[in-house]
């Protein structure tokens, strides 16, 4: 895209600048639209599993429900509680929303179709997802209300706990791929198992890592069965209890953008991203973008499925799973995977 703007007579720097802005818009706008549709899909799937109809009034099949909700929320009054710390209270949803969009910069949508093709792509994702805690913790503290504060404490403890094991899981993937670059990680999965299966998930050593990553990503995004931060019987509605209007909508959108991000990471790191699942030439006729989208949507369906069927965990069970099960097991797998690679790939 930079080259295109250079043909319009711009200097390289400005062409790069304009191209990057265009790239950001090209990712962010469809993403927001996708988030609106995915909220609708989530409600529909959930309804179908509970033998209900779900949203079906606004637009054909209720397709416009999210937009109607958005409009309603937009027209509401923004209420700032009088005891709240005003500045932080208003910045917190912005932080959540921005961070949820930022990590998409390194996700490859197709071969080479990535906004920032950086060497440390996966580390960037880790860094940005570790920022996500701040939106939550700032909201809980600035609300100056006890239930949001409890919820923020729970949420941040939960996110920090599961980030540790996610880090070790990602290390296993990186060890096998030999790179932190997201695009190269996808390429490393081409014909990974028996020369025909594209994806680390088909590798017996990495399959357990994928299972743990799926569960950890549920916990990281505070989805059911780990949605303790909004356990309505205990905490009203979570850390965003005091929020109204667009500030509330920012949390809502940010949460679902994060869920989509986790699905995209799952697809990219374990299921071969924009590669078809099998390394057969016919399957390459379908554009890589379609494969990527299909995988992301499938994982979102899995997320909704889990939400509709699995009962909520207790908080101590959640912490036990994170620290006493996932952390030792993922740490062990780092040792096993690196040992295996030393024996086979880097044998001296």
């Amino acid at each position: 895209m930079t080259a295109f703007f250079q043909t319009l007579g711009m200097s390289y720097e400005w062409a790069w600048f304009v191209a990057t802005i265009c790239g950001i818009l090209l990712i962010a706008l469809p993403l927001l639209l996708g988030v609106a549709m995915i909220i609708y899909a989530d409600r529909k799937i959930w309804a179908a599993m509970a033998l209900r109809r779900g949203p079906n009034v606004v637009g054909p099949f209720g397709l416009l429900q999210s937009f109607a909700d958005g409009l309603k929320v937009f027209l509401q009054e923004t209420i700032v509680p009088s005891a709240a710390n005003k500045g932080i209270f208003l910045i917190a949803p912005v932080v959540t929303f921005t961070v949820a969009l930022m990590a998409w910069a390194v996700i490859p949508f197709n071969s080479g179709a990535v906004l920032a093709d950086i060497n440390v792509g996966l580390l960037y994702v880790l860094a940005i997802s570790s920022l996500g805690v701040y939106g939550t913790i700032m909201a809980g503290w600035a609300s100056n209300s006890k239930y949001p504060f409890f919820s923020a404490m729970r949420a941040s403890a939960q996110m920090i706990s599961y980030e540790v094991s996610i880090g070790f899981i990602l290390i296993c993937v990186v060890l096998w791929a030999g790179t932190f670059n997201m695009n190269d990680i996808v390429k490393a999965q081409e014909g990974h198992v028996l020369g025909i299966f594209n994806g680390f998930v088909f590798n017996p050593l990495l399959f357990p890592m994928w299972v743990m990553f799926l569960i950890s990503s549920l916990a990281e995004t505070q989805r059911a069965p780990f949605d303790l931060t909004e356990a309505e019987s205990e905490l009203v509605a979570g850390y965003q209890t005091e929020y109204s209007s667009m500030a509330f909508a920012a949390y809502w959108l940010g949460e679902y953008a994060n869920v989509l991000l986790m699905c995209a990471l799952n697809a990219t790191l374990f299921w071969g991203g924009w590669l078809p699942p099998l390394d057969i030439p016919v399957l390459y006729l379908v554009p890589g973008f379609v494969w990527f989208l299909l995988k992301v949507l499938f994982f979102f369906f899995v997320f909704s499925w889990v939400k509709a069927t699995v009962p909520r965990y207790r908080y101590d069970q959640l912490m036990r799973l994170g620290w006493k099960v996932f952390l030792p097991v993922s740490l062990g797998f780092v040792v096993v995977v690196s040992g295996y690679l030393m024996l086979t790939r880097y044998a001296v």
């Binding site: 720097e13 400005w14 790069w16 600048f17 710390n85 932080i88 950086i118 060497n119 440390v120 580390l123 960037y124 880790l126 860094a127 940005i128 570790s130 920022l131 805690v133 701040y134 913790i137 700032m138 503290w141 404490m153 941040s156 920090i160 980030e163 932190f180 101590d316 036990r320």
Partner: protein, 205 residues
């Protein structure tokens, strides 16, 4: 052009948020400004091509250390007036620390400029061999030349971690821990009992 704008943006933001960190009255605001300072410092690191260090700065300091800071500051009930009262008393000590830090920075940059350290060219360019990524360059150096220092650092961190656990862990006699295996292995037929109580009499379980 964009480089220059970005550099001055990050540099000014780093210094400004660093200043507000120590000037702001609310300790929670201080920590949040400190986080902004870390973040902008990471931006500066990226500008000089040290993207690995930048990411580690964000992951370690912003993602872990500052969150703990924030937790502690939010949980503590701090009396701000009392906190400010010690300013004059602690001023000489603070100055001493500042002078030591300044001297260290001057020494470090001076040594780097005169080329006594093999870190790359003194003008800051070519800090890593061309063609290798940041991570490879650091890894190659860390696991060969500085292996023992690296391992020693890891050992110190381990000792610190164990020390922290030992200091905070206390065995209380009256706690009843959960036996997870017992909880999981419970089955409905052994967990529930069917009783038919007579009218007016209780049930003893």
């Amino acid at each position: 052009m964009i480089h220059v704008i970005a550099f001055y943006l990050f540099a000014v933001m780093t210094i400004a948020s660093g200043a507000i960190t120590i000037l702001s009255r609310n300790p929670v605001h201080s920590v949040l400004w400190l986080i902004l300072a870390f973040f902008n410092a990471a931006g500066l690191m990226i500008l000089v091509g040290a993207e690995f260090i930048a990411m580690l700065l964000v992951i370690v300091y912003v993602g872990a250390v500052a969150v703990l800071f924030l937790f502690v500051v939010m949980m503590l009930d701090i009396d701000f007036a009392e906190l400010r009262a010690g300013f004059v008393k602690n001023f000489p000590l603070g100055m001493l620390v500042a002078i030591v830090l300044l001297a260290e920075m001057v020494l470090g940059i001076g040594a780097y400029k005169t080329g006594a350290l093999q870190l790359g060219a003194p003008d800051g360019t070519a800090a890593q061999p061309a063609g290798t990524s940041n991570i490879e360059a650091i890894g190659a150096l860390l696991y060969s030349r500085y292996l023992f220092l690296f391992e020693a650092a890891g050992l110190i961190l381990l000792v610190a971690m164990i020390g922290a656990i030992v200091l905070t862990h206390r065995q209380r006699g009256d706690t009843r821990g959960q036996k997870i295996s017992k909880q999981i292995s419970r089955r409905p037929d052994e967990a529930t009992v069917n009783v038919k109580p007579e009218v007016g009499k209780g049930v003893s379980l």
